[in-house]
Symmetry: C2
Subunit: 295 residues, 2 copies
C-alpha cells in the first residue's frame, strides 16, 4: 500500500474492500472499480479530462432537483437505462415489452374514473385512449393500477413548466384502475415528439457528441397488479419522426401503435367533437411475478 | 434502432455518436459506454440497484459545493485519482513523485515571504519546513511557485470549519516562491492523520464496504515553474498510522519523510521556542516539461 502505481492500484482498491459485510455490494463494487479503471487505462485519461469529468458530474448534480433528474437523463442517453431495463425484463414473447422509466414520473398523480379527461388543462389535440390488461392466458386482469403520463403539445411535461406549481400540477398524468373486464379508457391529448431537457450538462454532452435530443411521440404507462411483474413501458406513435433515432434508445417495434385521426363528429365518450380527434387502442399483457410462477 | 435489446444497445449508443466532431471525445465516450455497459452486464445490475446508484450520485451532487467536492472524494476513494495521477506522471526516477490532488486545494491562498507562519491561526504543534527545488541536473530552480496546504491538529482544513468565513479563511495554506538558490522555508503546524469527510454519501459508501476513512499525516505541495512539469504531491509523515491503509491510496514510499521533534530551545527562525517543535526538510526535483525536453 506504499507504492501503488497504475498497475497495482486496482488490486489495492479491491483489497481494501475485503471486510465488506455485504457480498452483493462487494461483487458490484469490485466489478465497478475494475471497469472504471480499465476505462481510464484504455483511453489513458488525462488529468485535465479527469477534472472535466468531475466538473461535468458536479453540474449534473447541481441541476438535479425534485422535479429534474439529470442523472437519469445521463443514464438514459448513455443507453444504461435501456440495458438495465432489458436485462431485468426478459419475459415470454406474448407479454408486453418494457422500456425505460425516464425522468418525468411523479408520485401522487390524481386518480381518475374511466372516461375522464386526464389532460386536466394540458394543451393538445384530443386523444381517446382505451385498452385491456390481460394475462398470458388472455384472461382480463381486473383492478390493475394504471399510471399514465405524457407531455403536452409543446413537448413539455407538467413538471417542466416555467412556474410548476399547484396551477400546473398533474396535467396529462393520472392513475386509473382496470375494470372487472380488464378494460380502461380515458381522454388525454395527442402525444408529440419532443427534445429531452437539453439546456443542462446532458444537453451539452449530446451537442458535443453530434447527437440530437429528440424522442419520438409516446405515452408512458406503468401497470401494477398483485401476482404480476410491474410493467413500465411506453406506447410509441406509428409514422412519427425519431422512431429510428430515439435519444434514449427506448423504441421497441412491438410498442409502436397507430394513433387514428378522426374528423369532427361523434367521439368515443358519446359527445360530439367539434374538432378533429385521435383514438389509440392498445392492450397490455402482464407477466406473472416470479413467485406466482413458482406457486 | 427499433428493437434494441441488452445485446445490441452498446453498438446502438456508439452508432449514435458517429457524427461526433471531436475524435478524442469520441474515443473517450466510446470506451466509457463500453465499460459502463460491461459492468452492468457483468453484475446483472438490477433496476433497484440502478435506482440506488442514481440516488447515490444525486446525493454526491447535492452535498458538493464550492468548498466541498464529494465527486473528487469519490474518485479518490475508488482509486481513480491515483490511477490517473500515476499514468500521467511517469518521469525519471530521480524526480519527485506525484500523488493525488485531493479535494481541499483552494485558489487564491495568500502569498508569504520565506520564514512566514502560514498557519495563520490554525492550531497545532509548531513545525518548521524547509527544502530546495532542483532540476534533474541538481541545479536550483529559482522563483518556483510553491502552494502548500494542510489540516490543523483536529484534522480539519480551513474550508471544513463549521463557520468557514473570513475569520477562518486561508489557515495552514499559502503560496511561496523559491529563492535564487531554489530554497524555501516556512513555519506551519504538525501534520496529523485525519478522516476524509465521511458524513456524506462517500462516508456511507466506505462504511458499507467495511473501509475506514483515515489518511496518514501529510502536507500538500503543488510546485510550478516555467519549463517544468507541474508537480502535485504530498509529503507523508514517517512512523505515523495509516501509511499502509490510506483511504485514498496516495502513499508512495519516496514521499515519506521524517518530521524531527525538538525539545524547547532555539528554533530554525532564530527565535527561542518555549514549546517542543518539529522540523521537516524535503527537497523536490522537477521534471522538464515535454516541450522543454524537445527544445
Amino acid at each position: 500500500m506504499r507504492n501503488i502505481n497504475e498497475d497495482t492500484i486496482t488490486q489495492a482498491v479491491i483489497a481494501a474492500m475485503c471486510a465488506c459485510p455485504n457480498p452483493r455490494l462487494l461483487t458490484v463494487m469490485t466489478s465497478l472499480v475494475q471497469h472504471l479503471h480499465s476505462f481510464a487505462r484504455e483511453v489513458k485519461l488525462t488529468e485535465d479530462e479527469w477534472m472535466q469529468a468531475i466538473q461535468f458530474l458536479t453540474d449534473v448534480g447541481h441541476i438535479t432537483h425534485d422535479k429534474r433528474q439529470e442523472f437519469i437523463l445521463l443514464s438514459d442517453t448513455l443507453g444504461l437505462s435501456t440495458l438495465v431495463t432489458a436485462q431485468n425484463n426478459a419475459k415470454p414473447q406474448a407479454c408486453t415489452e418494457a422500456t425505460v422509466f425516464g425522468p418525468f414520473f411523479v408520485e401522487g398523480a390524481p386518480d381518475y374514473e374511466h372516461g375522464a379527461d386526464i389532460a386536466n388543462g394540458a394543451r393538445g389535440e384530443p386523444c381517446y385512449v382505451s385498452g385491456q390488461v390481460r394475462d398470458l392466458q388472455g384472461r382480463p386482469v381486473a383492478n390493475a393500477l394504471i399510471d399514465v403520463w405524457q407531455s403536452d403539445e409543446d413537448g413539455k411535461y407538467d413538471v417542466q413548466l416555467a412556474h410548476a406549481s399547484a396551477e400546473h400540477e398533474h396535467r396529462a398524468r393520472g392513475r386509473l384502475r382496470s375494470g372487472a373486464d380488464g378494460r380502461f379508457d380515458f381522454r388525454s391529448i395527442l402525444a408529440v415528439p419532443y427534445p429531452i431537457p437539453h439546456d443542462g450538462p446532458v444537453g451539452r454532452m449530446l451537442d458535443a457528441l453530434g447527437r440530437h435530443p429528440w424522442r419520438p411521440a409516446h405515452l408512458h404507462f406503468m401497470i401494477a397488479a398483485p401476482g404480476y411483474q410491474r410493467l413500465i413501458t411506453h406506447i410509441f406513435r406509428n409514422g412519427g419522426t425519431y422512431l429510428d433515432s430515439d435519444a434514449v434508445f427506448g423504441v421497441r417495434s412491438t410498442l409502436v401503435a397507430d394513433w387514428v385521426r378522426h374528423e369532427p363528429g361523434p367521439a368515443p365518450d358519446g359527445t360530439h367533437s367539434e374538432m378533429p380527434f385521435y383514438t389509440l387502442q392498445y392492450d397490455f399483457v402482464l407477466n406473472p411475478a416470479a413467485e406466482s410462477v413458482q406457486a
